[in-house]
């Protein structure tokens, strides 16, 4: 169980997050949705342990976790393969590394650029490398900050179709920050809406659609939950 109690945080005396409370079971995928600048990324970075909050308690978050940043943060002088390998040093046996990286690149459809340097990749490709890097890292807690923003619709759909069963099978606990309602409803078992200034959780929505049914019929099953999200965001 992952729990947050009375989280508050400010930047330069400017309150950003106020009285955040949540409780999430292990193995859950959580989408965090909200308008630009509301503090979603700050919230994610606090959960990942990158920032210490001004006050509040986080339970079970202090463990190894992987993070997909908004910008890929690849080393320009390392190939794609070596960029992913960097996070595996001293964590898995050397003999396993090529197979792990190969599988991850296959999942994000980038097998052919394993030996390429980041400068030769598009923004979307770099972001997929960052996702592959997060997938190979041996941790069951994952944070993704706008992971699909540079990807086209088809690629986004294909990637989500790969990730959902993988996360289910390997029992990942995932927190995804996004401003895309479709991504939030397609991925999240629970959708937290952030709003107001300073931000707090204005609504918690449980996704009624099972993971296996979310991306069938081009997401037609998600219309109801999407409308609920739209309505909640409009109220605020």
């Amino acid at each position: 169980m992952y729990k947050i109690e009375n989280l508050n945080h400010s930047f330069n005396s400017h309150a950003v997050l106020q009285d955040i409370n949540l409780q999430v079971s292990s193995g859950c995928i959580v989408s965090i949705l909200g308008p630009s600048g509301c503090g979603k990324t700050t919230f994610l970075r606090i959960m990942a342990g990158i920032i210490k909050p001004n006050s509040g308690t986080l339970h079970n978050f202090d463990q190894n976790s992987s993070f997909v940043f908004q910008h890929p943060r690849l080393l320009p002088w390392n190939t794609v393969f070596d960029n992913i390998k960097l996070v595996l040093h001293d964590k898995v046996a050397d003999s396993e590394i090529p197979t792990l990286i190969s599988k991850a690149l296959e999942m994000v459809e980038l097998t052919e650029v394993a030996d390429s340097y980041p400068l030769k990749l598009s923004g979307g490709m770099k972001q997929r490398v960052a996702i592959a890097r997060a997938l190979v890292f041996p941790a069951k807690l994952m944070f993704l900050d706008e992971p699909f923003q540079s990807l086209d619709f088809d690629l986004k759909q294909r990637l989500m179709r790969q990730l959902l069963p993988l996360w289910s099978e390997q029992k990942y606990t995932v927190f995804i920050v996004t401003h895309d309602i479709r991504v939030a409803t397609a991925m999240g078992d629970i959708i937290y809406l952030l709003g107001n200034r300073p931000s707090s959780i204005i609504k918690e929505l449980k996704n009624p659609v099972s993971r296996s049914d979310r991306l069938v019929k081009n997401g037609a099953n998600l219309i109801e939950i999407e409308n609920e999200v739209y309505a909640s965001l409009s109220e605020n």
Binding site: F69, P76, K120
Partner: protein, 258 residues
Amino acid sequence: MKTFTTMLKNKNRRTELIIGVPFLLLIWHLIAMGVGNINIFPTPLAVIGSLANIVTSPNFFTVVTMTLSRVLVGLTLSFCLALILGLISVNSRFVKSMLNPLVSVMKAIPTIAITVQLIIWLGPFQAPPAVGFIVIFPLLYSAVVEGLENIDLDIIEMANVYNVPKVHRIKHIYYPSVVSYLSAALAGSIGLCIKVIISAEYISTTRNSMGDGIYYGFAYFNMAEVWSWAVVAIITSAVLELPLRQLKKRICQWREVD
């Protein structure tokens, strides 16, 4: 596989050699003919003749070796100290504050002023490599400091999140960043080091040196000999820089984009 950019660069270089160099030689020849006195302004042919005499002289190899050895001493000392002090400075504001004024003075001081001072302190043999050190060290030191200080903090944060071990951070993050800045500075430093050391040798009339060769060429009003030694210096610089440029090309191959 050659990229389009590399092919274009090679094509431009070939064009420069085929068109540019003969054009340069033609202009040189025309100016020399205009001046009309090869002792004041020698023709390309006069320089080539003088160069042949110098190269076939019995002590040519000794002269070039002695000058090069001073260059290597100056460069090696500069490189090693720049690396050590640069690493310390980045981690210690006190050391950095202590060194900054000294480095600024070393960058700005006229070479001639420091050369004559070092001749008095160290004598004609030790002064030239010391001058080389004074001129080159601040460039390499600044490159090391900049290389370390300009590391993307977002990448450091990523390394923190993924618990990348320190050894691998040094190997994959810090070292490539420093090498990138240092290799650029080093490539430029070789030619500069040769120039200042030869100048110092000229002023101190260091025996068995290229600077001394220029000194006697000028003393006997033989400008062809002066220019010949200049050609030797240019060729020596190019030869020394070649392995470094190849290394830099290999290290920085990630920068090549189609």
